[in-house]
């Protein structure tokens, strides 16, 4: 194979050239280097020397060695760049161009043969084309035709080589010969289409007229287009341009998807801890329904706490207090999430949850009521486990209130969370203070939405100093059978 055909040789030559200033700097006696960095620099120079040694050789083995050495050059130069602050500035400044050369097998800037020729009209949107053909004359022809109009052409002489190259470099369009010894065009295509990262790269098959059946099979397997040999140069260029356009479209789609994923991660991070997985999924499906900036909405607020908790645990060792709290809060969290509530906060032994935000549902109040009953019912289990562990039995009071709150991401730039503010929150807190052990006490506004299946006990009035209006509340008693 000719030298110009082996992309790795060109790549190696660019790397050696880019390393020139580093070698010069190292040769200067005035530059001091610490022992640690000296070791890595020596290893890097050694690898570069080996790369230079291989310059005039060719063949599959040589190419393999070359790629291995390039891997080592990359590793050492990245490592040194990470510690650039420890290096003498005259050495540190030589690393970025070397890293640039090592990073991409294709020269990103530089003269194309088209620019040299200066005659042929350049295409508007040049791309990187991988031409795969076992015959050198075909590779040469395609290279000439396409680089003349401004494309960067990489060639591979076998399916194996093509797959190796695809792995390391960004290719816009693959021009793929069907009939090759070893891994044939159809198989390369199949590998491409099975690889998530390569699937979107357009593939144009090239074959003789007699292979039409296989071309059809390739199109069915995901090839984008085909050309029959001997091909018309104008047709080739037209198909390549169409392929590049398709690739750009895929790339844009990719970027768009990435943006969506970033948003999804943000939503998960914001809500994951407070909401059931189901609701997080629903929010992700229709993010437009979610106003994180803040909106006024009607919700049913739940506050619960353990009566006399502080006194109860006064004499317990801290570890046991934590065990006690986690068991109780763990169970309550499960129940609240099960009923579709949003847990806003744990305050010691108290839980603040909201039904109806961020997602509004018709039965928000009913779910809150049933949730409160389920929580009280679960206390038996919690206490059974407590008694078994010689821990005190707990009794919980719950308050429910329905009203308008402002919901949104509240806080400073450094720390913010989805939360709620409003008068209705304070009202709930007042009801909570009045609720007895084992009781679910609900406000009049919550009672107004009481489903038929639930009943309340006698009306009570709560009055507080400084507040003229008495608060009307009802104990939620039991579920009608």
């Amino acid at each position: 194979m000719s030298d110009s055909d082996d992309t790795s040789a060109e790549w190696a030559a660019r790397i050696v050239e880019a390393a020139g200033p580093l070698k010069d700097a190292m040769g200067r006696r005035t530059v001091s280097v610490s022992a640690d960095e000296r070791r890595d620099l020596d290893a890097l120079l050694d690898a570069l020397a080996r790369l230079t040694d291989l310059a005039d050789q060719s063949g599959r083995e040589v190419k393999h060695d070359r790629l291995n050495i390039i891997g080592a050059v990359r590793g050492y130069s990245e490592m040194l760049a990470e510690e650039a602050s420890k290096l003498h500035p005259s050495i540190a400044k030589t690393l970025p161009p070397l890293l640039g050369a090592v990073e991409s097998p294709v020269a990103l800037t530089g003269k194309t043969s088209a620019a040299k020729a200066g005659k042929q009209k350049l295409v508007q949107d040049p791309g990187v084309i991988l031409a795969v053909d076992d015959l050198p004359e075909n590779r040469d022809l395609v290279s000439r035709l396409l680089s003349r109009v401004g494309h960067t052409v990489i060639t591979a002489e076998s399916g194996e080589e093509a797959l190796e190259l695809l792995e390391t470099m960004g290719v816009d369009v693959v021009l793929l010969d069907l009939m090759m010894p070893g891994i044939g065009g159809a198989e390369v295509l199949q590998h491409l289409k099975n690889d998530d990262r390569l699937r979107a790269t357009p593939v144009i098959m090239i074959s003789g007229r007699q292979d039409m059946d296989q071309i059809v099979a390739c199109i069915e397997a995901g090839a984008d287009d085909y050309l029959l040999k001997p091909f018309n140069p104008v047709l080739l260029q037209a198909r390549i341009s169409a392929g590049i356009e398709r690739k750009r479209w895929f790339d844009r789609e990719d970027q768009y998807r990435e943006q969506l994923e970033r948003r999804e991660r943000f939503i998960r991070a914001t809500f994951g801890r407070y909401l059931s997985d189901e609701i997080v999924e629903e929010i992700l499906e229709s993010p437009e329904g979610l106003n994180l900036g803040g909106d006024l909405r009607e919700v049913t607020i739940m506050m619960s706490d353990i009566r006399g908790f502080t006194t109860l645990v006064e004499h317990l060792p801290p570890q046991q207090v934590v065990t006690l709290l986690n068991r109780y809060l763990g169970r309550m969290t499960d129940i609240i999430l099960e009923y579709g509530g949003t847990i806003d906060e744990f305050l010691g032994d108290a839980v603040l949850a909201v039904f109806g935000a961020p997602k509004k549902q018709d039965d928000d109040t009913e779910r809150a009521l049933r949730c409160a009953l389920a929580m009280q019912a679960a206390m038996d289990e919690v206490n059974e486990a407590n008694v078994k562990d010689d821990l005190p039995a707990l009794s919980m009071a719950i308050a429910l209130n329905t009203g308008s709150v402002v919901a949104g991401n509240i806080g400073s730039e450094r720390r913010s969370k989805y939360g709620f503010v409003g008068h209705a929150m304070n009202v709930t807190s007042r009801i909570e203070d009045a609720a007895g052990p084992g009781e679910v006490l609900i406000s009049d506004s919550t009672r107004a939405k009481l489903p038929k299946a639930l009943v309340v006990g006698d009306r009570r009035e709560l009055s507080a100093k400084g507040i003229e209006e008495a608060l009307v509340v009802f104990p939620l008693t039991e579920v009608k059978s």
């Binding site: 070791r39 890595d40 290893a43 790629l67 891997g71 590793g75 190796e164 190259l165 590998h191």
Partner: protein, 123 residues
């Protein structure tokens, strides 16, 4: 960097890459032991109980796939996570590494920060 005492076995027959990677891992805070072929890799795993193995696939004596398969069948070694280092472009080869029992893979040329992330995820 976390994991000062973290021991990683690097199995790679290419001396240049072996030296480079072990140097980088060392600087990243790992304790590195190395092996140059598949048989030696299994010996090192038995003798030194590394926290994880970075395993090249094309190795002399015993190839990486065989090493992974044998390690995962040996109750004493099965729990040691293995990351396949593969120069192969083909998805099929990665699948082959995973089905041989490798816990993850990294393609050459190695993206070092990504490799460290994979190591930390497994440890």
């Amino acid at each position: 960097m976390t994991g000062n005492s973290l021991k990683v076995l690097l199995v790679e027959d290419n001396a240049l890459n072996r030296d480079m990677l072990s140097r980088r891992l060392d600087r990243a805070g790992f304790t590195v032991i190395t092996a140059e072929d598949g048989a030696a890799a299994l010996d090192e795993m038995r003798a030194n109980a590394p926290g994880a193995v970075l395993l090249d696939m094309n190795l002399p004596v015993k190839d990486g796939w065989t090493v992974a398969r044998e390690a995962k069948q040996d109750p004493a070694l099965a729990a040691i996570p293995i990351i396949a280092l593969t120069a192969h472009a083909m998805e099929a080869d990665r699948q082959k590494a995973l089905s041989a029992g490798c816990d993850d893979y990294a393609t050459k040329p190695i993206d070092f920060p990504a490799l460290i992330a994979k190591l930390e995820a497994l440890l």
